[in-house]
């Protein structure tokens, strides 16, 4: 019988990462979508880096940065008793950074494609920027937000290098499904590897097809 704990751990990690990124990604995407400055361009480049950087490189630097032996990692451990290396919160942090471009990119692009006059019309009606964002802008980019959430979730499901570097392979703590696949193959346990792979494949396929169908029916709007 295959141990399904890595699957549950992966789903938990992907859910937490997606919700956290949605919460923080929305205001960042909104900020990036307005105007152009060198500072914004640099921030955007940093956010996009995980798209092109080898995951092991990112994992390696996170491992160095949060090592409890020195620097930030030591300070976090001594002051708040928080440890990011070889722990579940470390996986969340790594996934958060690694999946950031998948959440922020689509939302930023969608906001940029909305006519500027939509927000302006709302402002002239006396509405605040926050109210305008929540009641006018956000409802009109729903398909893109959904796409961003699914991409983030699916990307987190498939993470390997970065989580292995910072989390290792501790059962029930950091042993996520992608690592379990690798580990099972290493042990010549192809049956377990197949079970994990099939579950990951099925979840990802269902999610992607759902988004494609949803966006297909939403695309009636003249803004899409």
């Amino acid at each position: 019988m295959t141990d399904l704990a890595p699957i549950w751990l992966t789903l938990k990690l992907a859910t937490i990462t997606t919700l956290l990124l949605l919460l923080i990604g929305l205001p960042i995407a909104s900020w990036l979508s307005k105007g152009r400055s060198v500072f914004k361009t640099i921030i955007e480049a940093i956010i996009t880096m995980p798209l092109v950087l080898p995951p092991s490189v990112l994992g390696f630097y996170l491992l160095l940065a949060f090592s409890p032996q020195h620097g930030v990692g030591k300070w976090l451990q001594d002051t708040f008793d928080i440890r990011f290396v070889f722990s579940f919160q470390g996986l969340v942090l790594a996934s958060f950074i690694y999946s950031m471009p998948f959440m922020i990119g689509p939302i930023k692009s969608a906001l940029q494609q909305l006519p500027a006059s939509l927000a302006q019309a709302s402002y002239t009606l006396g509405k605040t920027k926050r109210e305008t964002f929540l009641k006018v802008l956000l409802p009109n980019i729903k398909p893109s937000v959904l796409t961003a959430m699914v991409l983030t979730f699916a990307h987190t499901l498939g993470e390997f290098g970065v989580v292995l570097m910072i989390g290792g392979n501790i059962p029930n703590v950091t042993r996520v499904a992608s690592i379990a696949v690798y580990d099972s193959v290493e042990r010549m346990d192809y049956s377990s590897a197949n079970t994990y792979s099939l579950i990951l494949f099925s979840i990802t396929f269902v999610m992607v097809i759902t988004v494609f169908l949803y966006n297909k029916y939403q695309a009636k709007s003249p803004l899409e």
Binding site: P115, L118, A121, T124, L125, G126, K127, T128, N140, S221
Partner: protein, 205 residues
């Protein structure tokens, strides 16, 4: 009285040019603004609404300074609360006709009256994508009126209406403007469409 004395640089194909306007608009007056494309008509309206910022000058409305960079005054559009009819209508795709008006005001009786004026009372549950161009334009006008603004800025507000609907709507609007004591600036390309409605004209370009 609305006193405007502003300078704003405009991006043009052949470099930059300066939009310079120094003009007073009496309270309750209706003024037509005309000029060739690129002469700064829309930019002028946006400067008044606080949607774009002039480089120099001042804007004073009913003895209240809305803009004067020397004193650091530049009221945001939310505090100016002008009625603004956008040339592209700027309707919210996620909202129905009724939701557009409810987003702007809580006054149900006022909403009903506006719907009758715009002849949209049977289309309250329709979203913009299911409205014709003329219906969308009327909704844009109604939404701007919903906040009962003291100053109404209209950018080509009648361009998509057929002559019959235009005449009927202009007649209704004139009554409404007078009732609310509204000062109105209307950008128009059509030389004949505002005859008998306006008290003055401002040519740009």
């Amino acid at each position: 009285m609305i006193s405007i004395d502003i300078e704003k640089s405009l991006k043009a194909y052949a470099g930059q040019r300066i939009l310079k306007i120094d003009r007073k608009f009496p309270k309750g007056s209706i003024t037509k603004i005309y000029g060739p494309s690129g002469s700064g008509k829309t930019t002028f309206l946006k400067c008044i609404a606080g949607l774009t910022t002039p480089e120099k000058g001042s804007i004073m409305v009913d003895e209240v300074l809305w803009f004067e960079p020397l004193s650091g005054i530049n009221l945001p559009p939310q505090e100016r609360k002008v009625g603004f009819v956008f040339q592209d209508y700027a309707l919210f795709p996620n909202m129905t006709v009724l939701e557009h008006l409810e987003y702007a005001t809580n006054d149900a009786a006022w909403i009903q009256r506006l719907l009758l004026i715009g002849k949209l009372e049977t289309l309250t549950t329709h979203k913009p994508e299911y409205l014709s161009g003329g219906q969308q334009q009327r909704l844009a006008i109604l939404r701007a009126l919903a906040i009962k603004p003291k100053l109404l800025l209209m950018d080509e507000p009648f361009s998509a209406l057929d002559p019959e609907m235009k005449a009927a709507l202009i007649g209704e609007l004139k009554v409404l403007f007078e009732e609310l004591g509204m000062t109105v600036l209307i950008v128009s390309h059509n030389s004949g469409e505002l005859v008998g409605m306006v008290d003055g004209e401002l040519g740009l370009g």
